[in-house]
């Protein structure tokens, strides 16, 4: 199972690499040279990685110079919590798209603290308020960032 997932990830990179190299076919040489020089080794290395993953080649010490995800919990719990976490993050993004950044901030804070964190209403409201206030002060009042209106409002106005 794990081996297949690993091969699949390599395969996605491989296909993306092939697509990127193929995309250069009609480009002028000044534009195409660099992506080809980089893309071809990328494709070759990715192909080797996929083959090794499929054959279940031993990983050796499996030591990347990087941090590692924690593996202390049972795999099914890990998988479920991972999906939930990504859902919240993507959900926040969708909320920003739909109702705009300023409104999405307190909504997300409140929803997460109360819904996911099971914090008390009081604490959730206070923390969401604090986050919203800091957001408004720094990004709106001081920095004047342009925040696009939410998609819903745009549709409603039409």
């Amino acid at each position: 199972m794990r081996r297949n997932a690993q091969a699949l990830f390599g395969l996605v990179i491989l296909l993306a690499g092939i697509a990127a190299v193929v995309a250069t076919r009609d480009w002028k040489i000044q534009t195409a040279m660099y992506p080809r020089v980089v893309g071809i080794p990328l494709v070759i290395l990715a192909a080797i990685e996929v083959v090794l993953s499929l054959r279940g080649a031993p990983e050796g010490e499996r030591q990347a110079v990087d941090t590692a995800l924690s593996e202390t919990l049972p795999p099914d719990v890990t998988a479920r919590r991972t999906r939930v976490a990504f859902t919240w993050i993507v959900g926040f993004f969708l909320a920003i798209v739909l109702i705009g950044f300023p409104a999405a901030v307190p909504l997300f804070m409140l929803a997460y603290l109360r819904g996911q964190g099971r914090e008390s209403w009081a604490l959730s409201l206070v923390l969401a308020g604090v986050a919203w206030l800091a957001f408004e002060l720094i990004f709106d009042r001081v920095l004047h960032l342009p925040f696009a209106e939410g998609l819903l409002l745009q549709i409603l106005r039409r």
């Binding site: 004047h144 960032l145 342009p146 209106e149 106005r157």
Partner: protein
């Protein structure tokens, strides 16, 4: 219940524009936003922040003016926003890339605006382009450049920038003997390359090269139509053009420079508000305090009002087809 909501909404929509149209506009207590098509720190941004500090004094009601940066697509993103999304209530001003009009002329993908339909406020300054070479080279005149041997090496950023297309035109139309090496990340990097004698010169806006000229690193040879007093005596590309088409090509490239820092309002802005901004810019660009700060920021102020700017835009977009076709070989907006 729903009917009431719809009615309320309709009433709200009806009231909003009505408010904006009422007689002489006063902006007391309002906030005006200048949307700049580039990130903080560049020339367009610095000019916008200068304007934002001084313009309120010349607008009835002295509103607060803030600057928002909306970079992307060489400021197409910002122009699309001001054209399509911003309300024409005088509370949003756009400040864009001067070459957007050329982008529209060559039909760049992603453009969702028509430059002629903006309510033009005009441009507070022109940006003269010059061509300059290292002072220790023996060439001083246009004729010297044509005879130069070996070719003079010119560093450039890339197509679409004045560091690149101006020397390219000089080479093609005035037979300058130059070799152009593109790829430098910015104009200042080219100056460093000049300093270490990797290249012999560059072109670009006068304001970006003034310091290097003043300290004797480079010497200007030729300029374009837009000008500032310091370099008025340099030869002008169009006047040396060997034929009508060459002249038209030079003109097409340099005309947008007269509106060096374009400022516009969304299309269909009420005439009263539009005129009020033109007047305010006119007063501001004559104001002593403003001029003093502009000079310290290395901006040469020379206001081109809205109607004159619009005329220039029309002139560019009305260029003959065959000239445009040749021009696209020299120009790349992306």
């Amino acid at each position: 219940m729903r009917a009431v909501a719809v009615l309320l909404l309709l009433a709200l929509i009806a009231v909003l524009p009505a408010q904006a149209q009422q007689g002489a506009p006063s902006f007391a207590g309002r906030t005006v936003t200048i949307v700049v098509g580039y990130p903080t720190g560049g020339g367009y941004d610095r000019m916008a922040r200068l304007v934002a500090r001084h313009l309120p004094r010349f607008i009835p009601g002295n509103p607060t003016i803030i600057v928002q940066n909306m970079p992307g697509g060489n400021s197409i993103v910002a122009a699309n926003h001001v054209y399509n999304t911003a309300r024409p209530d005088g509370l949003t001003i756009g400040a864009f890339n001067r070459n957007l009009v050329l982008g529209q002329m060559v039909n760049v993908e992603g453009i969702r605006f028509d430059m002629t339909r903006f309510a033009w406020i005009g441009s507070p300054s022109a940006e003269a382009t010059i061509f300059a070479i290292r002072s220790d080279l023996p060439y001083r005149t246009v004729a010297d450049m044509q005879r130069a041997d070996p070719p003079v090496i010119i560093g450039a950023t890339g197509p679409g920038a004045s560091t690149y297309d101006f020397p390219l035109l000089l080479k093609a139309l005035l037979k300058f003997n130059v070799r152009i090496i593109p790829g430098y990340p910015s104009g200042t990097d080219i100056l460093l390359a000049v300093e270490r004698k990797e290249v012999d010169g560059r072109s670009g806006s006068y304001s970006s090269m003034k310091a290097a000229i003043d300290r004797g690193l480079i010497r200007p040879i030729i300029r374009t139509r837009a000008s500032v007093p310091d370099i008025a005596r340099l030869p002008v590309d169009e006047e040396l053009a060997p034929n009508a088409r060459a002249k038209a090509l030079f003109a097409l490239r340099s005309v947008p420079e007269i509106i060096g820092r374009p400022y516009v309002l969304p299309p269909a802005t009420p005439p009263a508000i539009h005129q009020m901004y033109i007047n305010a810019f006119g007063q501001m660009t004559k104001d002593r305090e403003f001029l003093a700060e502009a000079e310290r920021s290395a901006f040469d102020i020379d206001y081109t009002p809205g109607d004159a700017a619009l005329k220039i835009v029309r002139e560019v977009l009305g260029a003959p087809r065959d000239v445009v076709r040749v021009f696209t070989q020299f120009f790349n907006f992306e």
